[in-house]
Symmetry: none
Subunit: 80 residues, 2 copies
Amino acid sequence: MTVVQHGARLPVYRQIADRLRAAIEAGAIPPGDRLPSEAALVAEYDVSRGTARRVHRYLASLGLVEVEPGRGAYVVERQP
Amino acid sequence: MTVVQHGARLPVYRQIADRLRAAIEAGAIPPGDRLPSEAALVAEYDVSRGTARRVHRYLASLGLVEVEPGRGAYVVERQP
DNA sequence: CGAAATTTGTTCGTATGTATC
DNA sequence: TGATACATACGAACAAATTTC
């Protein structure tokens, strides 16, 4: 894992979310595409599911993604 | 249910897995035989499917069983 | 052959307990 | 005290693979 553990300036969920946000804004994850699932984030970053959920929740609070129960977190269409 | 609930020293999925492991090692469930399905574990121990899945996954991590999609969890042939 | 049933795979929603900072 | 983070455990819904009828 590359993210800095608990106690760092930024919480782990923010570090991961910032990465995804950068990828979204760079177009690497285009609108309509699905973000890594909670389970995928758990596996990729070796974090708990709670932290993975927070990543999605935080990005949703920014209006960048929409989380759909049973389906996943999708990048929303950007405002022109 | 006979297993001890959440908060106990051993998690529920471990308690159930340990029972099955003992049965496997005792030869009660011979190699090639199928373990109780997730649904069967749910019914027998009154646990959630997630916990039942964990039982299979844990035994698989021990190399005792192989889980095959659509088929079930099977006891592997033992090393001589 | 095809439909139904069975079984595992995946996804998110929610709650609880513990530990740490 | 509160936020963070871990692990466990419940549930719901749908998908995919396989078996059974």
